[in-house]
């Protein structure tokens, strides 16, 4: 047990913080502690979690990506156009198109980084502007409301009638999110390629000496994020029932904050899918709680910022000092 806590210090710290916030919110609000609210949280967080596990893979490989959220906007828009062109399509063709477009945009980032040796933050700030600029230029900022029926129809996977007559529902985005999370977890922890990504992020020179193909690593990491961003884009369009070109603008920093909160390191080699999911949930729960408490939405960002600082300080430095039994366990 001690070992488990020690090797997953970040995850346990996050769980503790989440539990504390949940206890406080359950005591101070009537509506927080309910199945309906919990399901709502999952439904609304799904898109961010899909983004987050994608970004996690890039962070593990030692990179960073600023462009994925606007890339998802581009994918949304182009997918909607293609679906209109082929006359409807369905979930399978929709996901395939969105995923492939996402991979393409991610691969372009990897190409710039690998071929021209541009550091990833610079390369993706550039593509962030290029993708968003192209999107706004060609669309003139016009939204698409005329989407195929299958895409705008809510798909309820599980429902439960509450005592007060409302329905608690789990919808399709949650299923897609779970699949993405499990796939990313399998990929990063259970496949040889995933471990190569960790090694590459941890010590690129060491990985190179082992004969790991560095270029392939970049393409795989950014391709994976691209695929997740594409899927997240389509799911967001489904959830919002419209495609608005700037709907996801600015989402990248929220997701990045959540992933870093989840224990991923900006230098590479570190980070877990569980931590990443908990990071997104912590921020979502905080926002949800503030909402229920009637706090002004203008204060959200400030409070979320403070939570990130506190949680990161907790998980990085003092977890071992706070729990004395863990000290000196190993040398």
């Amino acid at each position: 047990m001690r070992k488990l806590v020690q090797s997953h210090a970040t995850e346990f710290a996050l769980l503790a913080v989440i539990a504390a916030i949940c206890v406080v919110l359950s005591l101070t609000t009537d509506s927080f502690f309910s199945l309906g609210n919990a399901f709502d949280l999952l439904n609304t967080s799904s898109v961010n979690i899909i983004f987050a596990v994608g970004l996690l893979v890039v962070l593990i490989a030692g990179g960073i990506d600023i462009s994925f959220a606007v890339a998802a906007s581009v994918v949304q828009y182009v997918t909607a156009l293609i679906l209109g062109y082929i006359g409807g399509g369905g979930w399978i063709s929709g996901l395939l198109i969105a995923g492939s477009l996402g991979i393409l945009l991610g691969a372009f980032n990897a190409f710039l980084i690998h071929r021209f040796r541009i550091i990833s933050i610079v390369a993706t700030i550039a593509t962030f502007n290029i993708y968003f600029g192209l999107l706004m230029f060609f669309t003139q900022g016009v939204s698409i409301y005329d989407l195929p029926d299958w895409l705008t129809e809510r798909v309820v996977l599980f429902e439960h009638e509450m005592a007060d007559g409302t329905w608690a529902e789990i919808t399709l985005p949650v299923l897609v999110m779970v699949i993405c999370v499990v796939a990313t977890w399998l990929f990063t922890t259970r496949t040889t390629t995933g471990r190569q990504l960790y090694a590459f992020g941890d010590n690129p020179e060491g990985a190179r000496r082992f004969g790991i193909n560095i270029g392939a690593m970049q393409f795989i990491a950014f391709g994976w994020l691209g695929m997740m961003a594409g899927i997240a884009g389509l799911i967001q369009a489904h959830y919002a029932q419209e495609v608005v070109p700037n709907a996801l603008y600015g989402r990248e920093l929220d997701v990045l904050a959540a992933v870093v909160l989840g224990g991923a390191r900006l230098g590479g080699g570190k980070g877990s899918v569980l931590g990443c999911v908990l990071g997104v949930l912590l921020i979502a729960i905080t926002q949800n709680g503030l909402n229920l408490l009637g706090v002004s939405p203008f204060a959200f960002k400030m409070i979320v910022g403070a939570i990130i600082l506190i949680a990161i300080t907790l998980s990085n430095t003092s977890i071992e000092k706070l729990l004395p039994f863990m000290r000196g366990a190993r040398r």
């Binding site: 090797s7 040889t192 471990r195 941890d202 000496r209 082992f210 004969g211 080699g269 040398r331």
Partner: protein
């Protein structure tokens, strides 16, 4: 090469006619190299002599120029590739170890199992078994499930060796494996190398520390300026002979100790203690004196130095400079009072590698190059030029990055940085770590010159010969206490070594 002494064995590896050019400079000139099965072979040479280049050719990182013949294990190649080299049992333990600190010990050791282009599922149980077995073979117990970053450098070294053994190694290269190890850790490593050799694995050892080279190797290949000097049996070889072969110069070391009893006292330390680190330390250093402090790692030498430099607070006792008691609340106070400290870890703490030579040199003395409140480029240039000339540093331009200099020249820049603050007391902590023999001699020339000019110097080193030959008095520390005093003029090197390694 049939007359290799004491052997009739066929070489495991033999290279002939190896040439390599980088940017117009010949890094290797017609070099030959042979390793016998199961032997411990030392590859010696100064920095830039071509050792690393040769290793990289053997491991397939570089491709030698046409005409090269590489025979390994009955096969002939014109060049190696990293994949062939690894597959056929050639393993390298790089100086920087090339490990993955965030991953577990097991993954680090059995990393080969996750190599390969196409994704497969990872079998953690197999990895764990491989790791446990490899560590058992080395007779070391480590928690294979712990992340590598929890372990010390010496333990990571062992992980790197264990990893090399996983690939059915026949030939293991160790590049400067002991550079950051203490004596007892080095002894343990030497044991491991012996047992590898006994089990039929050939080990090629690259090291600057000649004492251990001579202790461990059967044969010695010496390179100088990219050319082969010769292959020698280690039996009957002495350190000074090896140095001569490596540098082409004669560095017979002489005891430099002199009497400085009449000079004024610069630093007086009385009953200085800091619980758990050092206890009841009293000594003085006079102007023009070089005080050597030696002892095993963990004896409290560095902690004592840091306390004198204001970075650790002593619990009790007193320090006075020129007769006046001083109490530093930070190292800024210490620098102001005239104490300079050259850190043990020059590469990571002492110099800012990507910045220029000039910027590194003036970083501790920015006050001196101010003009009207702003930094003056002219004054900076003058100050830098003066110290570069004084210390005989070989540089291209002042604006070149420090990382472009050799180890010895970097060390000189680090010394110059502190001399530019015009100190009264200079503390040198392990100044020759990672510096080769020729450059070491140069550094001690500088130290002697500085002492002559009246500077008080504390020279800390765990290599006893360094303090024996270069200090006026030697203080031996053990377990945080003063264990003894030696006067190099009236004792032998062996006397001190016997006390230190007792």
């Amino acid at each position: 090469m049939a007359d290799i002494p004491g052997t009739g064995a066929k070489p495991l590896l033999s290279l002939h006619n190896i040439n390599m050019t980088f940017g117009g400079i010949k890094a290797l000139k017609n070099v030959s190299f042979e390793v016998l099965p199961g032997e411990v072979h030392c590859l010696a040479g100064e920095n830039g002599s071509g050792k690393s280049t040769l290793i990289k050719i053997i491991t397939g990182v570089y491709r030698p120029e046409d005409g090269a013949v590489i025979e390994y294990d009955g096969q002939t190649y014109s060049h190696m590739s990293p994949v062939t080299a690894q597959a056929s049992g050639i393993q390298v333990i790089w100086q920087d170890l090339a490990l993955f600190p965030e991953m577990t010990v097991a993954e680090n050791i059995a990393f080969q199992t996750v190599i390969g282009r196409w994704p497969r599922f990872v079998n953690y149980r197999t990895m764990r078994d491989i790791a446990v077995k490899a560590l058992q073979r080395l007779g070391v117990a480590l928690d294979v499930d712990a992340p590598l970053k929890d372990y010390s450098i010496a333990q990571r070294q062992i992980v790197a060796i264990a990893r090399a053994l996983v690939g059915e190694a026949k030939l293991v290269f160790m590049d400067e494996p002991t550079a950051s190890l203490t004596q007892s850790e080095t002894d343990h490593l030497i044991e491991i190398v012996r047992s590898l050799s006994a089990s039929g694995v050939a080990v090629v050892f690259v090291s600057h520390r000649l004492a251990e080279v001579l202790e461990i190797s059967n044969r010695l290949t010496v390179l100088r300026d990219g050319a082969l000097v010769g292959v020698y049996p280690v039996e009957g070889m002495t350190q000074s002979r090896v140095t001569e072969l490596m540098t082409g110069k004669n560095f017979d070391q002489q005891v430099r100790a002199k009497s400085v009893r009449d000079n004024p006292i610069v630093l007086e330390v009385k009953r200085l203690s800091r619980p758990g680190q050092f206890h009841d330390i009293s000594f003085n250093v006079r102007s023009g004196e070089t005080l050597g402090i030696t002892g095993l790692l963990g004896a409290g030498r560095t902690e004592l130095a840091l306390a004198l430099f204001g970075m650790l607070k002593p619990r009790s006792g007193s320090v006075s400079l020129h007769g006046k008691p001083v109490r530093f609340s930070s190292n800024r106070d210490a620098i102001k009072a005239g104490i300079a400290y050259l850190s043990e870890d020059r590469l990571s703490l002492g110099l800012i590698q990507p910045q220029s030579i000039a910027d590194n040199l003036v970083i501790a003395s920015l006050d001196r190059i101010k003009s009207g409140g702003l930094l003056s480029d002219d004054r900076k240039r003058q100050l830098v030029a003066r110290w570069i000339a004084d210390l005989g540093v070989k540089i291209g331009r002042q604006s070149d990055a420090v990382s472009t200099l050799s180890g010895g020249n970097q060390q000189r820049i680090a010394i110059a940085k502190w001399l530019a603050t015009d100190p009264k007391l200079l503390i040198l902590d392990a100044p020759t770590v990672g510096v080769d023999v020729g450059a070491r001699a140069g550094i001690f020339e500088i130290v002697a010159k500085l002492a002559e000019s009246g500077l008080a110097i504390i020279l800390i080193s765990d290599e006893v010969p360094e303090v024996y030959f270069n200090a006026d008095r030697v203080l031996h520390m053990a377990q945080g206490q003063i264990a003894g005093w030696f006067d190099p003029q009236s004792c032998s090197l062996q006397d001190i070594e016997a006390a230190v390694y007792a």
